[in-house]
């Protein structure tokens, strides 16, 4: 169907791309026509088309948040971006049916292998749409739904419509509005009451096309007492021009449910990664975001949990590695709305060379609540003196019935430490990598094995590459 030409392969696992002939291409720039093109390609109901168009207006109205965020955002040229590229809307249920070049892409990224080894289900998105999606049959029998956003809204509106765009409203910020206008792909998941998934579900987001914007939309609902772990990974090749990734991820944990959402991103240096992630946790529910940000030109991401019911728990564990030319602007939001809710934020950032990390945290605990607890720890590691780290914690607590604990630290890897490690035979890159791995070690130990291995590999690769 299309030619298979691999170009630009180098030692970095994600840095290769195929020339793909897209059947659907909305062209460059964003207008109502773009939206109509997407709606038509997806054969969407009118209400979705209306939802998109309203979102476009909000997007156009909202200013860039440069009054608090970096001016680098101004370098995104929305007219030059391609908003929808796909080879069709229905993902295959067998890797054999996936087009060769797409299949080879995911094979190189190790996805089918991981699926065989430890996953309950996989969705592999290539540019705008999932090329492959499959879940274990037994889970289907239990009533678990794991589909793309279009299919979710089309086939299961009674389940998803209720929460779609509610956890993160269109006008939450400029990029959530953009996503609402042009969203495509992502995962819609429903886990019925009491169903506990033993193995994780995984989505892999791959950008293949240049000057492209990927806008996946994910909504996960864990019904009462249900448990699910979801993992996402992402890569893109290195391009001359910048690429935009702007996802919206909404999680809903109903009474007593548990959701764990794990991200290991490894974007190339030209990706603007502007993602909005938020969860609702009802009574006794637990939501844990594990967020590892490696690569990208600029990442802005502050996963949040709205603790809506008594004894709900929210947790954000994040690791950000900012190398030369990268800015990781990450953090967490915890909004306490009920008594006896607890939240925990642990953020570790590493800045290398001219890399820059920023932590922004928000903890909101209003006056009338009792028995709420928050613990926030932010640790920064600097490798070489040019690096920069900023911490902006905003803790908004009223009343005395609550407790908040905040700790922050900044440490450095000294030249003498590097020399010491090199004297043991480690290369400079290996030495830095070991120092970084040591710094994040206590967090990584909590991750599922497969992900801690992957994270270590990515850190090794990133640090090797940072040695001049």
């Amino acid at each position: 169907m299309s030619q298979t030409d691999a170009i630009d392969i180098d030692r970095e696992k994600g840095n290769f791309r195929f020339d793909v002939k897209y059947e659907y291409d909305a062209g460059t720039g964003l207008s109502e026509e773009t939206i109509d093109y997407i709606s038509k390609a997806k054969d969407e109901e009118q209400w979705i088309n209306d939802f998109r168009k309203r979102a476009l207006k909000v997007f156009e109205r909202l200013p860039m948040p440069t009054h608090w965020a970096t001016k680098d955002l101004e370098n995104i040229v929305f007219e030059n971006i391609r908003y929808y590229l796909s080879q069709g809307q229905m993902p295959s249920r067998s890797w054999d049916d996936v087009p060769d070049e797409v299949k080879e892409t995911f094979e190189r990224l190790g996805i089918p292998e991981q699926e065989r080894k430890f996953l309950a289900g996989v969705e592999a998105q290539f540019d705008s749409e999932a090329a492959y999606s499959r879940m274990q049959d037994s889970l289907e029998d239990e009533g678990v739904i794991f589909v793309g956003s279009s299919e979710g809204l089309k086939k299961y509106p009674h389940i998803f419509k209720k929460y779609f765009g509610k956890v993160i409203p269109t006008n939450d910020n400029k990029f959530s509005a953009l996503n609402s206008a042009v969203f495509s792909g992502g995962s819609f998941i429903y886990v019925p009451p009491g169903v506990k998934l033993k193995q994780p579900l995984q989505a892999y987001f791959r950008i293949n096309a240049e000057s492209f914007g990927q806008f996946e939309r994910t909504l996960i609902i864990a019904d009462e007492g249900a448990e699910v772990t979801y993992m996402e990974g992402c890569t893109a090749p290195k391009f001359e021009t910048s690429t935009l990734h702007s996802a919206v991820v909404e999680l809903v944990a109903l009474k007593g449910a548990k959701i764990q959402y794990i991200t290991v991103q490894n974007w190339s240096n030209n990706v603007f990664n502007l993602v909005t992630k938020r969860a609702w946790a009802e009574e006794g529910a637990e939501v844990k975001w594990i967020d590892c940000n490696i690569g990208s030109r600029l990442t802005m991401k502050y996963p949040g949990v709205v603790l809506k019911g008594r004894k709900a728990r929210g947790e954000v564990i994040s690791i950000a590695l900012a190398n030369d030319g990268q800015h990781q602007d990450t953090g967490a939001k915890m909004v306490h709305q009920a008594d006896d809710t607890t939240s925990n934020i642990i953020s570790k950032s590493i800045s290398v060379g001219k890399g820059r990390s920023t932590y922004r945290g928000l903890v909101h605990m209003p006056d009338h609540l009792k028995g709420c607890k928050n613990n926030t720890e932010c640790d920064a590691l600097l490798i070489n003196t040019n690096s920069r780290t900023d911490t902006y914690p905003a803790i908004n607590v009223q009343g005395n019935g609550n407790s908040v604990q905040h700790e922050a630290s900044v440490s450095k890897v000294s030249a003498e430490q590097i020399f010491y490690m090199m004297q043991r035979g480690l290369s400079e890159g290996e030495a830095m990598s070991l120092a970084v791995n040591g710094f994040v070690n206590d967090l990584v130990r909590q991750f599922p094995m497969e992900y801690s291995v992957e994270l270590k590999r990515l850190i090794d690769m990133e640090m090797e590459g940072s040695v001049g």
Partner: protein
């Protein structure tokens, strides 16, 4: 050929020359002791040998088994077989001793060579046993929160695991209590052999009662001014460095 040969080495730091025409040869199979007053350049020598980038080498050469090591990166020199037990070992937070030594060994492996983890742990525990380091230590972060003596033992543990051709031990005895001194000395003595040359930098004759040197050198103001048998250390201890200074003054005049 099978020796560490330092020839007419002139080196310094921050524009200050410290090693002045320093020469010393440590053949494999021998243990040499290097003694000298504070600030005379013993640690400088160790750092220069190990390839520390802050030190400026003006002239001279250091041949390890006939190959020049000056100008090489520290990791290359290390993998070539030179080990430096630091006077002040550094802390590596979050990296366990076991993982650290493992990484160092893996850095010496060929690409694609498999690491035999069970054999590694067996050997590690064996060495820890010899040095009487509690097994639990292997899970502790390198040097973090260690007492001075524990750090020094940990240096010798690394040294015995990495099996270098040449060892430079910079004041390994300082900070060790008398029992620990015997234990560490025993560990070092077990490493003595025809395939290894050892340079022991120390201030105290006491260490040399346990690690009996083949030669003793006295360093003063950046160069070796006296070499002799192990009795030299005793003489030095008795007479102090004034003796060396006076003697130098006499020969100079």
């Amino acid at each position: 050929m099978s020796q560490l040969e330092i020839k007419n080495l002139n080196a310094g730091i921050a524009g200050q020359s410290i090693l002045k025409d320093f020469s010393l040869t440590v053949p494999k199979g021998e243990v040499h002791a290097l003694m000298g007053p504070n600030g005379t350049g013993k640690s400088t020598l160790a750092k220069v040998l190990a390839g520390h980038e802050d030190y400026e080498v003006e002239s001279g050469s250091v041949l390890m088994d006939g190959e020049e090591i000056l100008g090489k990166e520290p990791d290359e020199v290390a993998r070539d077989g030179l080990f430096l037990a630091f006077q002040y070992p550094l802390e590596i937070p979050g990296v366990s001793i076991a993982n650290f030594i493992r990484a160092a060994l893996q850095a010496r492996q060929e690409d694609g060579e498999k690491f035999d983890a069970p054999a590694y742990y067996r050997r590690l525990y064996e060495k820890m046993n010899i040095l009487q380091i509690d097994k639990k230590f292997s899970a502790r972060s390198v040097n973090e929160g260690f007492s001075g003596g524990e750090k020094k033992r940990c240096e010798i543990l690394q040294m015995s695991m990495l099996e270098p051709s040449y060892c430079v031990m910079d004041e390994t005895d300082s900070g060790l209590d008398i029992d620990a001194l015997k234990i560490v000395a025993n560990g070092v003595n077990l490493m003595r052999g025809p395939d290894r040359g050892i340079l022991v930098i120390t201030h105290y004759q006491r260490l040399l009662d346990y690690i009996v040197p083949d030669k003793v050198h006295v360093m003063y103001e950046g160069r070796i001014v006296h070499s002799g048998e192990k009795e030299l250390a005793l003489e030095l201890e008795e007479k102090g460095y004034d003796w060396v200074r006076d003697e130098l003054a006499t020969t100079a005049s």
